[in-house]
């Protein structure tokens, strides 16, 4: 049940705190998103800079980088995903517990970037796992990663807990595991997970 915003402020002035389960739940979710300690290329250097004192990602509740996917809530794909690495990225994502989020950081992670014409680079990790926020840039500055993180927090905040658009872990029908691509004779097989990624139609 939604609470009228002005009424809520008015009640707050009187010392009465009104909230909903959804608000409280989402506040908890968005305020302690722990990233996985995981870097793939030069974007990882910017990600490390973001966590250090000058930019301080900890201000947003993402202070601890966890060395295990079991303890992490968010995966920052920071760098080039090669076709040799892609199955491991998907496998690590599968090993994370819900609720989990993905930020694809930089040109390589979102599209293959400057290496997209290479035979060995995946043209965007969103072909295999659902990505919440894409950040362009080569590499994106720490501010851009902070912006992406705030965008993710806003996205979490706006999610209803029931009905359409609820988070995956509250939806029994949502897929919990994403198929790990096989390394085939010429390319990764399959080339994309159709439940996650469909070819966007380019309109000229």
């Amino acid at each position: 049940m939604a609470v009228d915003e002005s009424l809520k402020i008015e009640l707050g002035k009187q010392g009465v705190f009104v909230t909903t389960i959804q608000e409280l739940y989402n506040w908890g979710r968005r305020s302690s998103v722990w990233p996985m300690q995981f870097g793939l290329a030069c974007c990882a250097i910017e990600m490390i800079a973001t966590t250090m004192a000058r930019y301080d990602l900890a201000r947003f509740g993402a202070e601890v980088f966890r060395p295990s996917p079991r303890q992490a809530d968010m995966m920052i794909i920071s760098g080039t995903v090669t076709k040799k690495m892609a199955p491991q990225v998907v496998r690590l994502y599968n090993q994370m517990a819900e609720p989990r989020y993905v930020i694809a950081m930089g040109a390589c992670a979102i599209s293959g970037g400057p290496f997209k014409q290479g035979y060995n680079v995946l043209k965007g990790i969103d072909r295999y796992i659902p990505v919440d926020v894409h950040i362009p840039g080569c590499p994106p500055r720490p501010e851009a990663l902070l912006q992406a993180f705030i965008t993710l927090q806003k996205k979490i905040d706006a999610q209803p807990l029931t009905g359409e658009g609820r988070p995956r872990h509250l939806d029994a029908d949502a897929p919990g595991e994403f198929p790990v691509p096989e390394q085939g004779a010429h390319d990764l097989e399959p080339a994309a997970n159709k439940n996650v990624w469909t070819v966007p139609v380019v309109i000229k």
Partner: protein
């Protein structure tokens, strides 16, 4: 190779002298000089695969050359070359000369095509740390680029060849005999192709190109004609 002053200590035998030294130490080794016509004049020695390990060991152990450091191994893919030549051929032709049928010799210019088989080439760059000279460039060629692609490994002579020969095996498909651990090093084990070969066909995964230009645009255009929804592509498929 640095300035003139530094070059003093870098004096090395010329390529002809190295060739002579090899032939003196290993008669019948079959060493050939491959000239580099460029301004660097960095000529190289082409070894025959049969005697290559023997020659390599000599280059490493010889007191004067002492090429104790192998800095670089790489491959070159030379495709089959089709050579078109114009040859004058003389034919016996029946011809009416002055109303009388006669056999006349006629010279005709014909174009002939012949295919010079391609090969894979491995290039080694040697230096001497103790003598401070180098590089000496060695080459070896395979017989062809399909089934006779074996060459002797230099890993027993220079340990630093191990990973680089694995890379040449991975990307060019040269099989090194005597290599202790010949596996792919960059691509995965199940991979079948050799991506640095000139006739390698890369996977066609240019389904979505919103800002395509140049080579990518050409590939994206080819995809535009296909049914975008079906997700079918030539190599590999997208699961339904």
């Amino acid at each position: 190779m640095g300035n003139r002053e530094r070059r003093e200590g870098w004096e090395m035998k010329t390529i002809e002298e190295i060739k002579a030294a090899i032939e003196a130490a290993a008669p019948g080794a079959g060493v050939e000089i491959v000239l580099n016509p460029g301004p660097s004049t960095q000529h190289s020695l082409r070894l025959s695969p049969e005697s290559a390990v023997k020659v390599a060991t000599f280059l490493r152990d010889d007191a004067e050359l002492a090429l104790d450091f192998l800095s670089n191994v790489t491959g070159v893919d030379w495709l089959d070359k089709e050579i078109t030549e114009k040859i004058k051929v003389t034919h016996q032709v029946l011809k009416a000369v002055d109303g009388v049928e006669q056999t006349v010799e006629e010279t005709v210019e014909e174009t002939q095509k012949r295919v010079e088989p391609g090969y894979l080439e491995v290039v080694y760059h040697l230096f001497s740390v103790s003598k401070k000279h180098g590089p000496v460039v060695l080459r070896m060629r395979t017989e062809n680029r399909s089934d006779k692609v074996e060459l002797p490994s230099f890993t027993p002579v220079w340990r630093s060849a191990e990973f680089q020969e694995r890379e040449v095996f991975d990307l060019y498909g040269v099989v090194f005999k005597g290599h202790p651990d010949l596996r792919r090093i960059l691509m995965w084990d199940e991979f079948k192709d050799h991506p640095m070969r000139r006739d390698y066909v890369e996977p066609d995964d240019y389904e979505y190109e919103p800002t395509a230009h140049d080579a990518v645009l050409a590939k994206a255009e080819a995809h535009r004609d296909r049914d975008q929804g079906s997700g079918v592509r030539e190599q590999g498929t997208i699961v339904e």
